[in-house]
Symmetry: C2
Subunit: 406 residues, 2 copies
């Protein structure tokens, strides 16, 4: 079994009302067991179109995975389309029908009850994967070239069934090697990684960017795990200090882990990032061992009353300044009584900028014991959320580097 196709069924996908995330998840899983995905198609809830897509992909690919369209409504056409595409009849399975009967009976109208029971129609010759969290079972049917798998659309229902389908496909390629990279642009990370990979053929590079944070992924084109490992080491060596993780850990998780191991307690004071930094740190289970809290001092008066920033500094230098960033970090460290604190104060836009203090200007403060430091960044015009996200990554990296120095 070598080739695969993914078909995601649902009109909302081709009307642009929902982003298709199943394809990405299923593609990762199929690639991980050594299959090559030739195409991934989204198609509307239309029997004619889906039947065509199925005929084509079944003829072309060894494994075809279909998600969606297995529910009880008139728009759920996957069973019918598969029946047409394979030329195989649908038969009511009495065991599944009896499992669905209590749900069917909740419906007053007989047509609605019958609709529920259509989920018990099974293609002749199919293996049934019983529903685990939803109502529709999955169906796995042999085809000329290999296998057709019909799975429910909702990811939580699809996931365990996909795992069952893939059991026994034992052509494992090594899992992709991932690393988290901070402080480098996507193109700089890509250039460095590509240069390092020149001595490592058979490894494909993908670089995914988020504001201020880049994920580098190396995929082996063979089953050579040692070769992939050597390539990953070479890339990590080239990227140096910018690599914060050699797996898919988030930057926040690395900070929390490093702080816990170093016995360091942390707090923060935020203005323009408005709580996003604290939210990132507290998204990590176990953050409470390390993180005391955050003062989101959004208005100037709160900077004074909550974290003791002197009014004088706010008046003389303004909220977005080295002086206030330092005072915010020092104040948070005192108020929360921690070892290390970080502050953010800046202009996320779209309004609020000026010639001297443009949108994208953000000051960061660090207070570490008796020491305190301030850093100025001028982020490009990347939108309010982009500037806030970029600032969170920068602040997390400041914490990471400060903890490493202890």
């Amino acid at each position: 079994m070598r080739t695969a196709a993914i078909v995601t069924v649902g009109s909302e996908l081709v009307e642009g009302l929902r982003v298709d995330t199943n394809t990405s998840e299923i593609a990762r899983a199929l690639n991980a067991v050594g299959l090559t995905v030739l195409e991934a198609t989204s198609v509307a809830d239309r029997v004619d179109l889906l039947t065509e897509v199925l005929k084509r992909t079944i003829a072309r690919c060894d494994l075809v995975v279909v998600t969606g369209g297995l529910g009880p409504t008139h728009d759920d056409v996957t069973r019918e389309a598969a029946s047409k595409a394979l030329g195989v009849p649908l038969l009511r399975d009495p065991r599944i029908e009896s499992l669905l009967m209590p749900i069917a009976q909740r419906h007053a109208r007989p047509e609605a009850a019958e609709q529920v029971l259509t989920q018990a129609d099974v293609l002749a010759g199919a293996t049934v994967i019983d529903a685990m969290t939803g109502t529709a079972p999955g169906l796995v049917i042999p085809t000329q070239r290999g296998t057709l798998a019909l799975l429910p659309g909702p990811p939580a229902e699809m996931r365990p069934m996909l795992a069952k389908v893939l059991e026994g496909i034992d052509q494992s390629r090594p899992a992709p090697a991932q690393m988290g990279v901070v402080g480098l642009s996507e193109s700089d990370a890509q250039l460095s990684a590509q240069r390092a990979l020149e001595d490592h053929p058979g490894v494909r590079l993908t670089v995914l960017a988020r504001p201020g944070d880049v994920k580098v992924i190396l995929v082996a084109e063979s089953t050579d795990a040692d070769g992939l490992h050597a390539a990953a080491d070479a890339v990590a060596g080239a990227l140096g200090e910018h690599v914060y993780a050699r797996d898919d850990s988030s930057l926040a998780a690395v900070v929390i882990g490093d702080a816990r191991r170093a016995g360091v307690r942390v707090a923060c004071a935020e203005s323009c990032t408005g709580g996003l930094l604290a939210a990132a740190l507290t998204s990590v289970p176990g953050a409470s061992e390390v993180f005391a809290g955050c003062a989101v001092a959004y208005e100037n008066r709160a900077k004074a009353t909550l974290i003791h920033v002197p009014d004088e500094l706010l008046r003389r230098f303004g909220a977005v300044s080295r002086e206030v960033a330092l005072a915010m970090a020092v104040g948070a460290r005192e108020v929360f009584d921690v070892d290390l604190s970080v502050s953010t104060t800046g202009i996320a836009g779209p309004g609020g900028g000026s010639a001297e203090k443009p949108v994208g200007l953000v000051w960061f403060g660090i207070a570490d014991g008796e020491d305190s430091f301030a850093y100025e960044r001028r982020f490009p015009a990347m939108g309010r959320e982009g500037i806030r996200d970029r600032s969170v990554s920068y602040a997390l990296d400041l914490l990471r580097n400060r903890i490493r120095l202890r």
Copy 2:
């Protein structure tokens, strides 16, 4: 021109390394000008596969929009595949070549320089859309049935070019009617909406769920704007107080807008939500007119020192309790000197739960002038981020309802 297909080119899409967002965005735009998208396919960076997909979609659909694969690297195969699929040669365009020459000359190696210049290869008969932010131009070529558009992959480059392609396709359906709904599950919202739509044929319903917040979208299957409006009114009537917006505004934006109009200043105190509530409120441009700040009192000591929660209450009732939720809200209101404040304190999991206080238990406090109220919710097992997101929606809705009462 009636039918369309979307083709997104890139191996990272079929390897599951990047989620395809272009399809969703382009599908929305195509539907908005009255086109029906028959299929949306992602395909690897392979000339043979892409040529096949193009041949098929060009034969089937009036408009085919392709994104990706127009760059300067060996993996960029879109121009070549389109040339093969259409049987039309590629010709070097001297004007575009001269625009790219400065970039090509930055490369020391002649092969790299030549690769850059391949972006000046144009299909005979194509209209060129000059690059606005990137380097690769878009190409629009007449086909047997209509049009093939080749656009760059990066959304910021693709977007303005897509707009140019769609100028002049004047079959406007009314834009979908959207509404934001809070406090109803996805299935309850769907049932209510469906019942309301029984008297409004020709309108399709899509319901998209996020934790605690549901988006209801109505799409007209014709050009009848009045009919769509009447259907939207009927659905909004059925959903009643749960409708927080009759457009795609976020719940946070509605709260900030309502607070501004009512002249109400707001602050919050968070524990388990860890800054997410403040982040949601501050994501709204202009939040500073209304929002003073937030105390993320993550550890118990911070609840006492930052927002004056009496140690006695923490000892007797624990952090996750009616008493502490009230004290947090009242304390935040005083410390930030605002009109209205909300607090969250709960157990987001995965650890920290017990028989009496299980994961998913969250208390919310509201302090409004002299009044204060507490609300208890027991969210189902939906993961740490699910419980936090659900809590943020609930807290925002408490604010929304409280402001409406003033």
